[in-house]
Structure formats: structure tokens, C-alpha cells
């Protein structure tokens, strides 16, 4: 059947080509495909909903401007847009730090959001602790983790988005998760945080962890 091609099934490169010709429907589809996840990464990077909205909008405005110069196959849109967003997050974070240091601006507080399904799954105080730990990660580790978890990117794409090698991206993830794991272990040792599953908080759980540590040391020998 002749007529307008079905843009819904077209790949990102084709949609960018259409956007270059001013096709807003094609660009709208790119926004629909990617904006939520880009915003989720920005939100958990910055801890601030307004910043996340701003970063997401600016990233897509950059994509709209870039459309005319987009070269098929040079980069994946689904990686490129995260690279733009993460760079803007990092810029924003650094500007905030300078303003805070100069006492021009209050440090951004994590947004107080309405509880959702995820909040109910993990006790609120533990959830807040995890969010604080993530916000405290170094920028590139935080970005790598969010790209892996929120954007579901593999190490190759994370490397491309952050401008580092795949091996370096893997190391960023290792360091990020190791830090978060250590913080979680410390919280467990300090005492139960909220309603953690009994197996994690009782002395039996601690004993099992100690036993596992001893056995691990034995296996390494």
C-alpha cells in the first residue's frame, strides 16, 4: 500500500534523518522511545526532579539541533543521547558545587517523591540510604551504574557514552557496586534498618556471612 511509511517501526537513525528534514512526528517518536529513561538516569544522578527534567529537555534539544549533521552508523542514538545527558548532569553538578562553595546556592536535596512500588518493596529508610550512597559515588561511577541499571546498557555502550574503554567502564561498575556493597554491609553491622528480611538481619545471617568469608579465604588458599 502506498502512503506514509510507518515511522513507529523505523530505527533511530532513520528517525533522525526524518527529523533533519523537520519531521516532528519522527522526532516525537525518538522522544517517546528514550526520554523516560534518560530522565530516570538524570534524576538518580542529580537527585533532583527539576534538574532531571531540564537535563532531559536540553539533551533532546541538542539532538534536534544535531539531526541535520547526524551520520547513520557513526554512533547509536540510544548511546549518544545518554552521553549528552550525562555530560550535562556532570556540568550541572560541578556548577552546583562551585555555587555551593561560594555560598551562592543551597546544595540540591534529593527530591521528595511520592512512594511508588519500588519504595514499598524496600523499606523506606534503607531506600533512602541506598539513594544517598548512589549520590555519593564519584560522577563517572554513578553514571556508569545508572546507565547499566536504568538504561540497561552493556559495558561497551557505557564506555561509548562516557568516553572510556569497555574495560574502564567495567572497572567503574566494579568500583561503584563494591562501594555500595560495603555501605550495605556496614549498615547491617550497625543494626537493622527498617524491616529488612529476617535472614539478612538476624544473627544467623551474620554468622553465615562470617562463615562464607572464612570459607572464601580457605578456597583462595
Amino acid at each position: 500500500m502506498e502512503g506514509r511509511p510507518d515511522v513507529d517501526s523505523e530505527d533511530d537513525d532513520t528517525l533522525m534523518s526524518r527529523a533533519a528534514a523537520g519531521d516532528r512526528r519522527a522526532f516525537a517518536l525518538l522522544v517517546t522511545r528514550h526520554a523516560e529513561r534518560v530522565r530516570a538516569v538524570a534524576l538518580r544522578f542529580s537527585g533532583n526532579a527539576a534538574d532531571a527534567d531540564d537535563v532531559t529537555q536540553q539533551a533532546f534539544f541538542a539532538a534536534w539541533r544535531e539531526a541535520a549533521n547526524w551520520q547513520r552508523g557513526r554512533a547509536r542514538f540510544g548511546t549518544w543521547i545518554y552521553r549528552v545527558a550525562v555530560n550535562r548532569c556532570i556540568d550541572l553538578s560541578r556548577r552546583r558545587r562551585v555555587r555551593s562553595w561560594l555560598s551562592l546556592d543551597a546544595v540540591a536535596e534529593p527530591a521528595d517523591e511520592a512512594p511508588d512500588a519500588a519504595d514499598r518493596a524496600v523499606q523506606r529508610s534503607e531506600l533512602e540510604a541506598v539513594r544517598r550512597d548512589i549520590l555519593a559515588l564519584p560522577e563517572k561511577q554513578r553514571a556508569a551504574l545508572l546507565l547499566a541499571v536504568q538504561a540497561e546498557k552493556g559495558t561497551a555502550e557505557i564506555g561509548a557514552a562516557l568516553g572510556v574503554s569497555e574495560g574502564a567502564a567495567e572497572q567503574l561498575l566494579v568500583r561503584a557496586r563494591r562501594t555500595l556493597r560495603e555501605r550495605a554491609r556496614e549498615r547491617m553491622q550497625d543494626g537493622p534498618v527498617g524491616a529488612r528480611p529476617a535472614s539478612d538481619t538476624d544473627s544467623g545471617g551474620a554468622d553465615r556471612r562470617r562463615a562464607a568469608g572464612a570459607k572464601r579465604a580457605e578456597e583462595r588458599r
Binding site: R44, W64, D116, E126, V130, I134, Q150, R177, R181, D200
Partner: protein
């Protein structure tokens, strides 16, 4: 695969075996089947994954965000400047037209007959003006 390598795998890729690199998955699963320590690390990694997933989950912005982005495009129109390649193509065809015009004018008013060289130059067979006598 050693316990240390398995631990690094979990830290890099999480506890979902589908996310593990294909080249390391079989060895990791074999270790998981035989080592209690590996299973303890795996269980801990699963809990960490759940905590990170919960900690990074974000409420959906819904259609409002997309609408704001699309409404703002007018302030960020696509760049319609010519790319470098297109600029060269344009200048090349313009130069060829100018050469042809020069040839025709020169031919009309007389003078040495460089018509063959001019035609060759226009067609791209000569690349330097010095090639002409």
C-alpha cells in the same frame, strides 16, 4: 574461574546471568553450582541488585515531559547549515560552471586555443591549473 573473578563478574554485571558476558557465563555458572562461597556472593549480589534497582527507580514523567520537549523545539530549530561535503560539492560545481563560462567567452573572443585543456580541467581530468600550457 576463581572466586575473585566471580566476585568481579558480579560487581561488574550484577547477579542476573543474562547480563554476564557470554564468554564467562558457563564458567561462572559452573562455579556457582559447586561453590558455597560463590552462592553466598551471588545471593548478596542479588540483594544488592534489588536495593540498587529500588534506589534508582524513578517515577514516570508521563506525556508531560515529552510535550514540553516537543513544545520547546521551536526555540531549538535544526541546524540547516550545509555540511562540509555539501559545501565542497556546491563549490566544485560552481567552479566547473565558471570554467565552462570562461571557456565559452574565451572561445568567442579568440586567443590561444586551450579548449582541450579547459574541457579536461572542467571534467576533472586535470587537477592543477599549472598543467595548462
Amino acid at each position: 574461574m576463581t572466586i575473585e573473578e566471580f566476585e568481579t563478574l558480579l560487581l561488574a554485571h550484577g547477579a542476573n546471568p543474562r547480563h554476564w558476558p557470554a564468554g564467562r557465563r558457563a564458567a561462572a555458572e559452573a562455579l556457582l553450582a559447586e561453590s558455597e562461597v560463590a552462592r553466598a556472593l551471588f545471593d548478596e549480589a542479588k540483594r544488592l541488585d534489588a536495593a540498587i534497582a529500588a534506589g534508582t527507580a524513578a517515577p514516570a514523567a508521563g506525556g508531560a515531559l515529552a510535550a514540553r520537549i516537543l513544545a520547546g523545539l521551536d526555540a531549538a530549530p535544526p541546524e540547516r547549515v550545509f555540511g562540509l561535503g555539501r559545501l565542497f560539492a556546491w563549490s566544485g560545481s560552481t567552479a566547473a560552471a565558471a570554467l565552462m563560462a570562461g571557456f565559452l567567452v574565451g572561445h568567442a573572443i579568440g586567443g590561444p586555443d586551450h579548449s582541450a585543456n579547459l574541457l579536461a580541467l572542467t571534467a576533472g581530468e586535470l587537477t592543477e591549473i599549472e598543467a595548462m600550457p
